[in-house]
């Protein structure tokens, strides 16, 4: 069992990164906050059994994925990333860092693209969203993803392929995508 200071250190080191991944999974600030908290509490009770075979973050991320599955089972619903947009609209902007101020048109196009992508992610099965998070948020290699998920390299690639295809279909040919 971890001490309070162990937990505090774990939180200071990894909370923001985990929270962002949780947002990607859950789509809601409130759900992400609960998910990350449950992850830390579970990690605190099993810290002694952590053997260091993976990085601490990967270990925490694995716990969070399991918690997320349990969350989905308990809620019996697909979590909507759409909720995030609604929550973010009213969120305290001071909590967020790094917002550039592009031109009005560019900002509008980006917002529109993000909206479509968010809806496309919403429609994806959780295990497809999961591989996208690991690949494009966590920047893991296919091999690392396969190890983390306990599935084959081919499965990882086919899930990413499917997910990117779904996003592209949602974007359609008309939507301008800015780099």
């Amino acid at each position: 069992m971890a001490t309070k200071s162990d937990l505090e250190k774990l939180a200071r080191d990894y909370y923001d990164r985990l929270f962002r991944a949780a947002l990607f999974m859950c789509g809601s600030n409130a759900a992400a906050e609960d998910l990350v908290q449950e992850t830390y509490l579970a990690a605190a009770t099993s810290l002694d059994s952590f053997e260091g075979r993976s990085s601490v973050y990967t270990w925490l991320y694995g716990i969070m994925r399991n918690k997320f599955r349990a969350y989905l089972r308990s809620k019996h619903h697909q979590v909507s990333l759409q909720q995030l947009a609604e929550e973010s609209a009213g969120a305290d902007a001071s909590e967020l860092v790094g917002a550039d101020e592009p031109g009005a048109h560019e900002q509008s196009v980006r917002r529109e693209t993000a909206e479509i992508v968010r809806e496309a992610l919403d429609a994806l099965p959780p295990h497809h969203r999961d591989v996208l998070a690991l690949r494009y948020l966590e920047r893991m290699s296919y091999k690392e993803i396969a190890d983390a998920l306990g599935c084959s390299l081919g499965t990882v690639k086919s899930r990413i392929h499917y997910a990117l295809r779904s996003i592209a279909l949602s974007l359609g040919d008309e939507q301008e995508v800015l780099p």
Binding site: R110, A168, Q175
Partner: protein, 202 residues
């Protein structure tokens, strides 16, 4: 290369994780195949769209506010003070599981005792069964003697009623009787035994 093989390599090509030989083969195929080129363009569009939107979908930020840290540590302290409740829950779960196992054991024992013969068929075969007609030809009642605890079961005897119904008659143990359950023919001694054990017919 066939389209199927190329499709499996498009993601690697897009992400730059393809090996040089494969790249050449895939690019050669793409030069000739509109469909695979369109598929690659679609993947690229999906990836670019996702990459461009990540910042808005899940903004990089300082999410660990003091309030959240306080909430986390508070929850940790509460959990740390509740080991007995957790232990009690586990104890209740274990006790429930044990109770279920024990009850299954008793149910199994009951069912087994009902199904397992206490005496082998034939051992308790009565020396004589009284046969009396019950109307239609061939329908007889086999009435055990008093020592057979008053069991009275109706069978359809496969043979003609031997004594015309008036006199008591012995039924040879090996004779088959047709029971009231269609299609089930059993030796007399078995039928008698099973009736006695089950208290009723099938």
């Amino acid at each position: 290369m066939k389209c199927g093989d190329v499709r499996g390599s498009l993601l690697d090509l897009l992400e730059g994780t393809i090996n040089p030989e494969q790249r050449a083969a895939v690019q050669q195929h793409l030069g000739q195949c509109d469909e695979c080129r369109a598929e690659l363009a679609m993947l690229q569009r999906g990836r670019d769209g996702l990459e461009a939107s990540l910042e808005q979908v899940v903004p990089v930020g300082r999410y660990l506010t003091e309030w959240r840290m306080g909430r986390l540590l508070g929850a940790f302290e509460v959990r740390a003070q509740q080991p007995r409740i957790i232990t009690l829950r586990r104890f209740i779960a274990a006790a429930a599981a044990a109770a279920i196992l024990v009850s299954f054991r008793f149910i199994y024992a009951d069912v087994r005792s009902m199904l397992t013969p206490k005496q082998q068929p034939g051992e308790a075969y009565p020396s004589a069964l009284r046969v009396s007609p019950l109307g239609p030809a061939g329908i007889v009642a086999l009435t055990p003697t008093a020592e057979d605890r008053g069991l009275n079961v109706v069978f359809e005897y496969m043979k003609a009623s031997p004594a015309g119904g008036a006199a008591a008659a012995s039924v040879p143990p090996a004779d088959l009787v047709r029971t009231i359950s269609p299609g089930i023919d059993v030796p007399v001694q078995n039928a008698f035994y099973d009736c006695q054990e089950a208290g009723c017919w099938w």
